[in-house]
Subunit: 441 residues, 2 copies
């Protein structure tokens, strides 16, 4: 079956993925192209704040924005909620879960997903945090651990429930560890006066020599200091090798007894079957030229996390961050316009606008070019940048107000265990009876 | 195993349920009693606004408030997230999913759940709306129907997806129908310009002679008029008799082809096994005397929706509304204090503070004693009463602001399909593959 989109006298661009790259591209193609945007969710996710959803700081609805609403005034724009299945390059056809569609240009902006590097047992037992659903599950999991800790008589088991291990010391891992540190310091002891919070441990494990390895050493050191102030234990040059649901093993002698391993130690590209195998790397990322065109193809492009543009300065592609995705989307939109006019395209050049990470209240690290800042001012900058970047006026106001209240009251208000976890296949049977009322014990 | 709660020199009140009744009671027992509150969720739900969560008007986090946060400054208060299993009155023991607990006084405030009157097929196929999870599922279901409608070629099937039948013309049904009418009028046509919204139908089906049967006739008539203005079709004196997932049958000749039946036509008490069978009615409600004491028991009480106090003026118990629950909680708290002092208890007398229902923008019906109002002023009153009643300063501000933006922009912003439905047991297998990424097609 074909997806029912009107045929108009404009070239049709089919974009897979409504993340930072896909949304920017779709917006800038307005007028000169027919745009069909496909996403498995009906909303755009502001990923940089997912960790705050996971730690009860803000509600999920403020960092998700309905895609239809975003484009409601756009002509020749069509959104379809569907999963891309595969592409037939020879026929210019994309097949999806709701039917196939012809394209003039296909743009793959499917982003990245958690990479467990083939460790199946670890995957089954650990918590990822790459989507709104996963962040909500993590929030429920963290809170349920403390509810369980209250009912457990065995001290070892209680400590295990109160121990959190985060694998991966990139921005996600560092920000998550900082937020957990704040929960430990200010919020959870009030909720659970019967628990001894000296028992709560937060471990951040990083394989490289330092956390925030993509930033300057000065920033790494500062963030380590901030984490220490929040009683987060940082283990560098240590790699997690396995987790059976009880014990985290590493490539060192260190082991960690924990009920919760949060996996932020790797990402991979979201594959799209049907592309020339030479264009797809082992890690799922798609090799593109400097115009974001997929290797060995004419009219298929990839942008954002999934695109791997290998140049002299980027032997492994660009960093998988929002800024690259947005700039690729913008560049590709002007290049497509150029192509239509038979003019020369401009190669993509990444303009690094800097990077930042926040570690709890009043503390952040920021780098813009050679300028660096650590502490309170960087934190204010972090707040401002993230508020401005949020989509939607209501979301900005609500997040600002929520942060303001959290700050004044030393309290993260959204401590709700709302839903059962998404049951993993092997758990489904056990869950059957319990699910009736939406409660997960 | 016993639930680990410290033994202190105070009488212990175990309350099952953190709804309006249980929370009010727990608050007013402060100081003179040890209170153990048990709930299957870790939050209190502001049920009167659930319908707005279901219709994308407000986000769920604003109408749910963490119970631990609510009571964090209370001494001798203990919350446990657990499901009550049964009571052994002879031994003063309550058994729960996390162990048993001794009580001096037991208070059953378990509220009510959807009543399908034994219609199993209807239960399997229809959507209830009694909890935050259920309201979120309904929101996803409504939006997904429109996403599906876009992909369906068969006109009959498309119309079925765009038709919504609500069974039950009480406040819940009326408010839900009004909100759906607003979605049809202002919001959805912008999101789905490719669909013809003359095809969207909303039917409200009520068995009694008029909707809002507990209110004055004047209010019923006005609400019918308001519903008609929002293109909601009202069918009174009609009872839904079955639903197979495609066709709603009634006791009249009328049938309705729909993909969505929302069931708001009946509630029943949430049972607690172990009580004297004579004290439990067929509809699950517990028979209590005028002190809210359960029939044939000494120290077990029931308050709120689950309590059925039969008096001359209330042959079927009081209406199952928040006001009764709150007032019962308050009365019981003073009576327990009286009991401890060996003084006489005061019988419960319900003071009706009035009732109201809103039907879309600018329209509501309200009754306070003999005073009645329909339209804009009643709507303002409705807004004020509900804002004031919300728990938590942040929630009040966020809901107020969200309503304000929705009102100005004719837009309900929270149109997110965030989670898969809670899979019903028979669906679990089919869901297995799809659940991996938290997407429900």
């Amino acid at each position: 079956m074909e997806i029912d989109v009107p045929v108009v006298n404009l070239p049709r661009v089919v974009i897979i993925g409504g993340g930072f790259a896909g949304v920017r591209l779709a917006k800038q193609l307005r007028g000169k192209f027919q745009v069909v945007l496909i996403d498995k969710n009906n909303y755009h996710t502001f990923q940089p704040l997912l960790y705050q959803v996971a730690t009860a700081g803000i509600e999920p609805d403020s960092i998700a924005f309905p895609l239809r609403k975003m484009f409601k005034e756009y002509e020749h724009f069509h959104f379809r909620m569907a999963t891309a299945e595969d592409v037939i390059p020879g026929e210019n056809i994309l097949r999806t879960s709701i039917g196939e569609i012809k394209y003039d240009y296909l743009v793959i902006a499917t982003g990245s997903d958690t990479n467990y590097f083939g460790m199946e047992k670890l995957q089954q037992n650990s918590m990822p945090m790459k989507s709104v659903s996963e962040a909500l599950d993590l929030r429920s999991c963290i809170l349920q651990n403390f509810e369980k800790a209250l009912t457990v008589r065995d001290l070892k088991e209680r400590v295990r429930l109160m121990t959190f291990v985060i694998a991966g010391g990139g921005p996600t891992g560092v920000e998550l560890a900082g937020a957990l540190g704040e929960l430990k310091k200010h919020v959870l002891p009030q909720d659970y006066p019967e628990l001894d919070f000296r028992r709560m441990q937060i471990h951040l494990i990083e394989g490289a020599e330092r956390v925030l390895a993509t930033m300057d050493e000065e920033s790494s050191e500062a963030s380590c200091k901030f984490l220490k102030e929040l009683e987060v234990h940082v283990w560098t040059k240590t790699r997690v090798t396995g987790y059976d649901g009880k014990t985290v093993t590493t490539d060192k002698e260190e082991k960690f007894e924990t009920a919760t391993l949060i996996w932020a130690a790797g990402v991979k590209g979201n594959k799209l079957p049907g592309l020339d195998p030479q264009a797809v790397r082992k890690d799922g990322r798609i090799v593109v030229d400097e115009f974001c065109r997929v290797k060995n193809s004419e009219n298929i492009f990839a942008i954002g996390d999934v695109a791997c543009m290998i140049t002299e300065s980027t032997p492994n592609g660009h960093p998988m961050v929002a800024q690259v995705a947005i700039q690729m989307g913008a560049r590709l939109s002007s290049n497509l316009r150029q192509m239509e006019k038979k003019r020369t395209m401009q190669p993509f050049r990444y303009k690094d606008k800097g990077s930042m990470a926040t570690i709890g209240r009043n503390r952040a690290v920021a780098e813009v070019g050679k300028w660096k800042s650590q502490g309170w001012f960087a934190w204010l900058m972090w707040l401002a940048v993230h508020l401005i970047s949020l989509v939607g006026f209501r979301n900005r106001v609500v997040v600002f107000f929520t942060w303001f209240v959290n700050y004044l009251k030393y309290d993260y208000g959204i401590r709700l265990i709302i839903r059962p976890f998404i049951p993993k296949p092997q758990q489904l049977h056990k869950e059957e009876q319990k699910q009736e009322h939406g409660v997960h014990q």
